[in-house]
Symmetry: C2
Subunit: 208 residues, 2 copies
DNA sequence: CGATTGTGGTTACATTTGTTCACTGACTCC
DNA sequence: GGAGTCAGTGAACAAATGTAACCACAATCG
């Protein structure tokens, strides 16, 4: 089996993915700056030197993880901004969406929250850049909203940044609520909802 | 010189402080989970084994650093809540205060921002606990405010948490603006001011 | 088909790590 | 002032790390 062109590259990306997955798993209990090359290869089931075929260093791997982690967030933001008329409905949907995303990709969320201010500069930079891109998208979406009439460009940028930060805060709040039966989860959701609602109120009366 | 009682303990705390300072310096370019015991003692100018006279492990040292770092934040919050009638004046003063604190203790602020979601569980826990205490203080302060009439306990707690998170966001925003001549610093301050103002607007119209 | 490319494995090495043990000598306390 | 306490030192250890050089062998391409 397999004289189809591309078998080699497919295998390569398979082990590459194994390295990424292994690293992501290990990063649930430590920071990237302490992640060892051998540690990763051991968890991935490959020889230490094989690492170099894919990444120059663990820093490099970290940057790759940023792409992977925030790629999944990409679709999330789009959905949050979906056309819903009722504001409270939209907020509830957003909180629900964040909770779902955290439940689906906890390791990715943890990684971003952890390394956003972490000890590896290139990774911080990559996260910052991606989040700035998201904020720009959010801002563009906000600008189309009817209630945005009269808002300055700086005001819109500020609000978008506020929403992005709030999204991360909410996500890591859910993260800290792992197997809490249901009660803590509810409280986290309630708090997040309230915070978004207050921002919404401020938004509606911004031009008063 | 020195038959006054307490010379010994004074010397001990002096080297203990040297260890803390050395660690804090090293942590500007890495995370706590990768901080080595020998690395710290080397930077502090003491023998590796001396470390054990003060801390059980680097994790332990990290927890001690939390106390030190958030102790300085303590006074900061109190001042922010000082009695000023004009809201915009209060916001301006708060932003100014945060900027000053970051300029005065950049390493402490960086440490808290970095390890709040970092890879060392006991340190995360310590930071969470201290921030919860701060939030409680802020909430108590908010409750005395005249405009807090009719606010539920949960609403007050939510608002206090929002302010604390916002304070950290603003602080780490200033952190990312190290030697930027003045322009970036101004923009950061402007953004922070705008965000606090929007929260203030939402606060005033919360009960509408 | 034969030649080439390149992923992954093997072995090896110099460094660095955390922790131990026994020690020294200055401060403490009676 | 003499006995005891204890912060800091020094040497030693096994274990783990990042990186290099060389090898094997299947997929690729002419």
């Amino acid at each position: 089996m397999g004289h189809t062109p591309g078998v080699r590259q497919a295998q390569k990306q398979k082990t590459r993915q194994a390295l990424l997955d292994a690293a992501l798993g290990l990063l649930e209990e430590q920071s990237l700056s302490s992640l060892g090359l051998r540690e990763v290869t051991r968890a991935a089931g490959v020889a230490p030197t094989a690492f170099y075929r894919h990444f120059r260093s663990t820093e490099d791997l970290g940057v790759a993880l940023v792409e992977e982690a925030l790629g999944s967030l990409h679709s999330m933001i789009r959905t949050t901004m979906s056309p819903v008329e009722d504001d409270d409905e939209r907020i509830a949907r957003a909180v629900e969406l964040i909770a779902g995303h955290v439940a689906a990709h906890p390791a990715h969320v943890r990684f971003v929250a952890r390394e956003r201010h972490g000890g590896v500069q290139p990774v911080r930079e990559a996260i910052r850049e991606q989040l700035a891109r998201f904020a720009e998208e959010v801002k563009a979406e906000l600008a189309t909203d009817a209630s945005a009439a009269g808002w300055s460009d700086a005001d819109l940028r500020m609000l978008a940044g506020l929403y992005v930060d709030q999204m991360l805060i909410t996500a890591s709040l859910f993260l800290e609520t792992p197997a809490a039966p249901r009660e803590e989860h509810r409280r986290a959701a309630a708090t997040a909802t309230r915070q978004l609602r207050l921002i919404g109120v401020g938004r509606r009366h911004w031009l008063d």
